[in-house]
Symmetry: C2
Subunit: 312 residues, 2 copies
């Protein structure tokens, strides 16, 4: 079983309106809601792939039911007073997103300890662990790294899909696979201007003592490991990039659990990620597209990949 942890999950709400005009009043034609959050999406993709999985993390009293509507067994710690919402407004072929911050918890340090104990217990049945996404306000940024250490102590492979401060802590922690995007990678190695993604990912991999998968959007992904570095890219597809990273995380943890070689893992991550882009909703993948693309992804060893970083 692969355990996914989402510390700051959300209800994903979708509005359909005729067109979105700032300053105007809009009647919403259609409202849909589903359980969301990056780790929940990872578990949903694993479930679609036929893998045994379980979703945990922090939630309010009703959230687990919403997760189980997705077919994913859920064992959340009831610790949030309410769920934040991530709103996607569809109009005129554009998606406008509004992400609420997480609910404020009274004693974040106590809740973090409870979550550690909870995850420790769930890990007794787990072959892999994914910790994804942000933390609610007030939580110490080392929580994902501490959860990862619980798994690594048991020789359970871990993927951490984080950004900002939690990613920085994880980079200096140990032995979990990290998945920075280009901006995050540049920040972690202190680069500005052009970036050699391979050199940066390798440097980070040395620091974190684990493979690093740099996710580059339309430029594919680079895996940097102690045994070498590889690059893979899918044909460009149009669609919704939200959830592509979660599909990649699902492919990577599945590959690690199976002990597959990195070129295979990378090809799988790239194909599944593209299959998520063509699916309309985060947490869904087009399994037919995935099967079709899986064999076509070319993975090549790589020494250097210079990417011009957009100045921020």
């Amino acid at each position: 079983m692969i355990l996914t942890v989402t510390c700051n999950p959300a209800i994903d709400v979708t509005y359909r309106v005729d067109s979105l005009v700032p300053g105007e009043m809009h009647r919403v034609r259609e409202v849909t809601e589903r359980a969301g959050g990056k780790g929940v999406n990872v578990a949903r993709v694993l479930h679609l792939l036929g893998e045994r999985t379980m979703a945990t993390g922090l939630a309010d009293v009703g959230f687990a039911d919403a997760v189980e509507l997705l077919g994913v067994p859920a064992a959340f710690l009831t610790a949030l007073p309410s769920m934040r919402r991530t709103l996607a407004v569809h109009a005129d072929g554009l998606t406008t997103s509004l992400w609420e911050p997480g609910a404020v918890v009274e004693e974040p340090a106590d809740v973090a300890l409870k979550l550690e104990r909870h995850v420790q217990l769930l890990l007794t049945g787990a072959d892999g662990l994914v910790v994804s996404g942000s933390l609610p306000p007030g939580f110490a940024p080392d929580l994902p790294t501490r959860l990862a250490e619980l798994a690594i102590d048991e020789d359970v492979p871990v993927v951490l899909d984080l950004d900002d401060e939690p990613l920085r802590v994880a980079a200096d922690g140990g032995a979990a696979v990290l998945m920075p995007n280009l901006d995050e990678l540049a920040r972690l190695v202190g680069a500005d201007g052009d970036l050699d993604v391979v050199a940066a990912a390798s440097e980070l991999s040395g620091r974190s003592r684990a493979p690093v998968v740099a996710t580059l959007g339309i430029d594919g992904m680079v895996a940097a490991t102690k045994d070498g570095s590889w690059h893979a890219v899918a044909e460009q597809v149009a669609g919704n990039p939200t959830g592509a990273g979660d599909a990649a995380a699902a492919a990577i943890i599945r590959g690690l659990v199976r002990g597959e070689p990195w070129p295979e893992v990378l090809a799988d991550a790239v194909a599944l990620s593209a299959a998520a882009v063509v699916a309309p909703v985060a947490g869904e993948v087009d399994l037919d597209a995935y099967q079709r693309w899986r064999g076509t992804i070319e993975v090549r060893p790589i020494d250097s990949l210079i990417v011009q970083k957009v100045p921020r």
Copy 2:
């Protein structure tokens, strides 16, 4: 006690974002939530004015608690599976609104009957009734008129603040004060092009056998009654017009309950409405501004008021 009925209430959610750009992802800086819906706002304004009031209508199991946080006693019929949300996104000095449709109820006709019995019981303690706002999907448009008739049978004065089909039914029903805006009034009398608001409101008042207050935005309000017609307008103020009509409804029902003459009622409605515009949130009024403006509103008898209707 003045009873307000809201058949399709909402949770009013406010987001503050740095700027709203269609097609982009936005982190919401601040989220606030409060009980909303037109009748709830009316009750809140009456409460601020020191009047005894009670809010009822259709809601889910948790909504009454949210109404009572506003200081308003609540006695909602628990009949909705969830509350719709009305979202206001504040960015760059603009407010962008997204209004969800109401929750779908399995047996709207049964629920409507239950609400009639519920309102009938609450009316035993009521001196006035306001029924405001839209209906959830699937409800027959005569529900507000049927609720009004329950009160009128007991000689309790009624204000109906409706639009679309429920307003059309009420116009042919009887003896409740109606509050159409310019567009609604034009539709009700079948006018296009220039509209004589006084003639139209008088015609409507004859049909409904009750006074009509036409609300004209910056052009103030016209009251048409069997004893004459009056016009009043406030100095133009900048602010948030949402909730101005609810403040006017609060002033009108209070005046009717007290048996005040129509020129007084109209001046009060115009002043309180302006005091709602300068308050940032629907359901709130600036009581200092109201007191300041109350004595300055000029009410004049009027025979004709031609307003150029914007073609739709």
